[in-house]
């Protein structure tokens, strides 16, 4: 495949895996928790680097999962201690992220773990860093990592499809049915962490947040069906990232940044034009109601 194609495929993988997970986050109203986790996995990556002295994928995943779970746990702990949820998210993620940034600037400055990389990712360099995989030949490292995380996410979602669905809509009933609501919550948090860390390397922290939230929010405006929302959200993620790539190419700007911008534009389109929940249809239906009343 060509250089350009690899970037688009990598972006699409990020969009698809983040999009599908994002659908759950929106339905469960924990989008900001995901935002927090996608920031704090930085600390996990740094810690993994300090322990293993390498940018080994397995260590990074382990570190990210640990710190991601810790974030979710700490937020819950503070929240149950009487602090508002948004405030506890704010305290936890800023602290852990600050710690990560300090550790990078103190100990890891020479590696390619610099701050800019963290924020913007280096999706443009993705095709050059390759690993050879048995019968497939040379494949970009980020592609392999994102691909396997995407498959893992899909596997977990199909395995726990019903549980995810019930706990999203009615946790009380789920608990009454004997579904381990908290476990499912933490499974989702693990998925957010590993997906963030896999996407982190190629697209950076901020884009991960955009990709986790924007496609899900867009899909939420377009459908009322749970399964449709999952598929649509993943599809919109792919669309966002691809559109973002071409915007970046046209204007010669940061690829990850323009992917976020594309996600924003596509959300705005859905916001205005959505057949059921869009601003325009709201306007028209209000108009129609007025006419009927007259």
């Amino acid at each position: 495949m060509s250089y350009e194609m690899w970037i688009i495929v990598t972006g699409a993988l990020v969009g698809a895996s983040c999009g599908v997970i994002g659908a759950f986050l929106i339905l469960r109203k924990i989008a900001m928790l995901a935002d927090a986790i996608s920031h704090t996995v930085l600390l996990g990556i740094v810690l993994a680097f300090l322990v293993s002295h390498s940018m080994n994928g397995a260590f990074m995943l382990a570190g990210a999962v640990l710190v991601g779970l810790f974030t979710a746990f700490a937020v819950q702990l503070l929240n149950s201690g009487g602090i508002q949820e948004d405030a506890s998210i704010g305290v936890v993620f800023t602290s852990l992220f600050a710690l990560g940034v300090i550790l990078i600037s103190l100990y890891a400055k020479d590696v390619h773990l610099d701050v800019e990389h963290v924020l913007m990712g280096e999706i443009a360099f993705v095709p050059w860093e390759t690993v050879s995989l048995l019968s497939f030949g040379e494949l970009p490292k980020a592609f392999v990592m994102l691909g396997s995380i995407f498959l893992l996410d899909l596997l977990l979602i199909t395995l726990f499809y019903k549980e995810f669905k019930i706990t999203s809509f009615d946790p009380g009933m789920a608990a009454a049915l004997g579904i381990p609501v908290l476990l499912i919550h933490y499974v989702l948090m693990v998925m957010v962490s590993v997906t963030s860390v896999a996407a982190f390397d190629s697209v950076g922290a901020i884009l991960v947040v955009a990709m986790l939230i924007a496609p899900g929010a867009t899909a939420y405006l377009l459908t009322d069906r749970y399964s449709a929302m999952l598929l649509l959200s993943g599809g919109i993620g792919v669309l966002d990232s691809t559109a973002g790539y071409f915007i970046a190419k046209a204007f010669d700007v940061s690829i990850s940044g323009s992917m976020a911008v594309a996600a924003g534009i596509i959300f705005t389109l859905a916001w205005i034009l959505s057949p059921r929940y869009g601003l325009l249809s709201r306007l028209f239906s209000r108009h129609a109601v007025h006419k009927l009343q007259r």
């Binding site: 986050l25 929106i26 109203k29 924990i30 989008a31 900001m32 995901a34 935002d35 920031h39 201690g81 009487g82 602090i83 508002q84 948004d86 405030a87 506890s88 998210i89 704010g90 305290v91 800023t94 602290s95 992220f97 600050a98 710690l99 940034v101 300090i102 600037s105 103190l106 701050v115 800019e116 924020l119 913007m120 901020i206 884009l207 947040v209 955009a210 986790l212 939230i213 924007a214 899900g216 929010a217 939420y220 405006l221 970046a248 204007f251 010669d252 700007v253 940061s254 990850s256 940044g257 323009s258 992917m259 976020a260 911008v261 996600a263 924003g264 959300f267 916001w271 929940y277 709201r282």
Partner: protein, 427 residues
Amino acid sequence: MNQIWQSIASDGNTQWVLWSTLLLGIASGILGSFALLKKQSLVGDAVAHASLPGICLAFMVIGEKNFFLLLVGAAATGLLAAYTIQLISGTTRIKKDTSIGLVLSVFFGAGIVLLTKVAQMPSGNQSGLNDFIFGQAASLVGRDVQMMAITAAAVILVVLLLFKELKISTFDADFARGIGLPVKGLNFLFMSLLVLTIVIGIQAVGVILMAALLITPAVSARYWTDSLTKMVIISSFFGGMSGMIGTLISTLGKGLSTGPFIVLSATFFFAVSVLFSPHRGIVSTLLRRKQNDRRLAFKWIMKELYNQPEPLSRNNLFLQSHFSNGQCKAVLKDLLEKGYIQEKERIELTVAGKEKAYQYKLVDEILELKDMYPNDMAFDHLEWLEYGQAEQISREQLVEIDEKITAFHDQFVLPSFTSAYEGGNKS
């Protein structure tokens, strides 16, 4: 350490930087308290992220680093973000936290896009706009710092002048409207002050971590008090100290960002609050729980010994109690020292002990009666019983309680019997 003091003492600029981060911390501590109570903590996060595109746009338009105009740009996109969040959650079924995350990441993405554009401009390389991401207080110079300090001071002044109005509209918007306060105007003013504080803060703390300076000191202060005035004072103290300490630490190393250190200083104050604040802190809660357990064990053992017809052996007592053996032993030791019990082979109450146990029994009984028949047993002058002062009860008061209980039983049980008896006689 010496190095720091020397640089503070000799360098006028460092002094200004310290003063301005102190004032910035105070201002954000105050506004953060209000934001916390309005449940708008993370809005500040979004506004901070969203100021990045404004800064870049302003730079692209004017082509040089004019601090004031950059801040105008930051304020413009920051306010735009705040209103977009309200618009999204107001016109769709998307929840507020989702719209915050959405606006935050999209605006920041736009900021990154514009940042790459700025870097391509001929003057862009030395623009230092990157400093806005994690904050670089040390790079602030001369007039910029002074402007930052003055703006922060102005924000503080405005909030103090309108403190009462803001307080009322925060806690009870309907009441505020009722007494004729312009609630919408106050909200707009508050939002503008918040944006202003964030905008002057991003140079020192950075757009990503600025939210911490708004949230963490306020949450920490919440641990120490329930009164808004005290909360604002404590929060501004934490905020100001964090700003100053963080800046000091970051000047120790070359090229260290200021923001993360300010944030970690704030986190330190937060940790101290969580652990040691007098009412809600973990340590004091644990201590109180332990004390309470101890008191319950003390009472239980006394009553158990009083109720048993024969003296109990240690093992018997341990078996019947649901307290740990260690706790029982400690209580028994305490009782021995106070002379309430004597122990040969078995444990027995002394005369003083019996009196004390009887007292516990009566107090518990009357409190129980009061719970069951609140109307009949509502004697005001016994209210002190409920406030844990049952320990220091005088003999007269005890007699009084005893009489009350007997009177109560007489009133309910005996008359009904007698009247039934008399009634039967008559017919």
